[in-house]
């Protein structure tokens, strides 16, 4: 008896010590969780030895680095609800074996009158049932988490489909696990013992039937979600496939479905029809309502408008420019008429004419207009004149021609 007490207190002591290791080296362990290996520089030799002894970390091979033990990785994933790495594993078969063994030890202890041992076995039985229950609850929780986030921990549709598939397989395994629990066998096993019956029959049955309902629910929701994923995938392929086809065949024209004897449902869309209405006075009560409505209309506000002020200034400017342009053109035309009227063999200098007539045009603009007028004439009329440009090079090195004056004469002269 005292041996057992000693054993228990030793287990307690070591357990507390080793659990504390988790906290003490939390950072290094978490780095080992997120990466492949645990960074050793953060750990002293003693610390590493202790972690290895506690089976919190292990060394898969002599030369390789130190890694988290699978159970610890699972524990962390479970604590973080990290759906990429959370494992679903109900392990019903093994638990059932354990339950059978524990029930037998419990029976033995009872028949031998070892009350303390009997209590211990009952406690372990309770823990085994709780573990089983907890594993199902965790697995179901993990499934719901994944479902509710639309498998948000993976981004690509293909990955979502694969994850959904994996989740569905897990459900099948969990359901298979539930099916392994045969309550007829358990009833036989517990016999007439009240405590066992309460634990292994009524409690377990109630819990497992809840899990069963949840699993079926998650399963049907996962199937629905899968159908949606598949539909999204098929749409995406259809859109890109059709776009590629139309790009390759820009002149593709499908049949005129509207001319078929059976017009396809999808193509039959009626013309829009506006349900228009206008005020009518042929209904006495309505007339009153309409009168009221008319009264409620906001009175249009007429602002006095000054006509002169309404004219934009830019237009005045523009018309002024146009008027000057027109006057210049007319003066140049008079110059041409003068040349016709006075056939001079030497021709008439445009600048001399400008000076003589006392007009105010700038020399440059005058010459420009005279040349423009000549170039604007039809070819036949151009032949009647001879336009001589008096010009020089801009400089020795620049072949630009500067026009100093033009002389216009009749071709016949």
């Amino acid at each position: 008896m005292s041996d057992e007490h000693q054993l228990e207190s030793r287990l307690l002591g070591t357990g507390v010590e080793r659990l504390a290791l988790l906290g003490k080296h939390a950072e290094a362990l978490m780095q080992g969780y997120s990466r492949d290996e645990i960074p050793l520089e953060a750990l002293s030799d003693t610390a590493l030895r202790r972690l290895l002894a506690a089976r919190i970390v292990w060394r898969p091979d002599e030369q390789g680095g130190v890694k988290l033990a699978p159970r610890v990785r699972e524990l962390i994933a479970e604590m973080l609800a990290d759906e990429t790495r959370r494992q679903v594993n109900a392990d019903v078969g093994e638990t059932l074996e354990l339950l059978r063994t524990l029930v037998q030890s419990y029976r033995e202890a009872m028949s031998q009158g070892e009350h303390w041992r009997q209590e211990q076995q009952l406690l372990r039985l309770r823990q085994a049932v709780d573990d089983l229950n907890g594993r199902f609850a965790d697995a179901i929780d993990s499934l719901w988490q994944r479902l509710n986030s639309d498998f948000g921990f993976v981004s690509r549709l293909n990955d979502k489909i694969r994850e959904n598939d994996r989740a569905q397989k897990q459900i099948v395994r969990l359901l298979d696990g539930l099916a392994l629990i045969d309550f007829d066998e358990l009833i036989e096993l517990v016999g007439s013992d009240g405590a066992l019956r309460k634990l292994l029959i009524s409690q377990l049955q109630r819990q497992l039937s809840q899990h069963y309902t949840s699993l079926r629910e998650v399963q049907s929701r996962l199937t629905e979600l899968m159908a949606r994923f598949r539909q999204q995938q098929s749409r995406s392929r259809l859109v890109s496939g059709m776009a590629a086809f139309l790009r390759e065949h820009p002149n593709f024209v499908p049949g005129n479905y509207a001319r078929r004897s059976e017009v396809p449902e999808l193509v039959n869309r009626a013309t829009p029809l506006a349900a228009a209405a206008a005020p009518a006075l042929d209904h006495e009560p309505d007339a009153r309502v309409l009168t009221e409505l008319v009264h409620q209309l906001p009175t249009p506000v007429h602002k006095p408008q000054e006509v002169a002020a309404a004219r934009p200034a830019g237009v005045v400017e523009q018309s002024l420019v146009a008027a000057r342009q027109q006057a210049l053109k007319q003066d140049v035309e008079s110059f041409y008429l003068t040349v016709i009227d006075h056939p001079d063999s030497a021709g008439i200098s445009a600048l001399a004419y400008l000076e003589e007539s006392g007009m105010e045009w700038g020399k440059e603009i005058w010459l420009f207009q005279v040349i423009a007028e000549y170039q604007g004439l039809p070819r036949s009329e151009q032949r009647a004149f001879r336009l001589h440009q008096e010009e020089s090079r801009a400089s020795r090195f620049n072949d630009l021609r500067l026009i100093h004056d033009v002389t216009l004469q009749l071709a016949t002269a």
Binding site: R235, F245, P254, Y257, A270
Partner: protein, 208 residues
Amino acid sequence: MIEHGPLLERLLAGEFICAVSDDRAFRRLADEEVREQIDTYLRPLNRRLATNDEGSVYFLAWRQLNDEAREQLSRQLGETLHSLMPMLEWLQLMQEALGHDAVVAPGDVLKPAELSARCEDNQSLREHLERLAGDSFFGSQSEQLDAQMKQVFKRLKEHGYLLQPHADRQVYLVTGKIDYLVDLVRFIRDEENLPVDDETPTAQETLL
């Protein structure tokens, strides 16, 4: 019948009713009795209620197809086909800009400003938008990216593919009319036996 007045008016005006454009009306239309009432009302107008395969949108179809109706349908089909390529291109652009591997679906929220910003950072998206916006269906004359995006969204809203819940906010919802368009694409693919595959080969099939 009076409670269906506004709904009838929208249907008659050629609108597509879906869970996004009018959730209440859409749920009411799920009731067969209501659908029958509406059909009875529409009978003298030579119209009836129609829906797509999944029942995600309702619209009005001709009850009797006379020559005039067929003429109208041919014209309409021509217009829809004209819009097909730009619409498919738009769906692809949205998919690329959002970084999704699924086509936009009814209820999705789209923000032109955000999409513009993404196109700005990415030459290929930018060119894609430019090509798209210049298509006669969208008809943008602008060379500015923001203006192009705005024009594209404006046209999609006019065509009922998008809904703008608040006139002063540049946030749009995709409507069920997108479903109709995808259904139509699938229909054309099937009718014309086009070599466009939308099934993913399963792992076993690939092994074979």
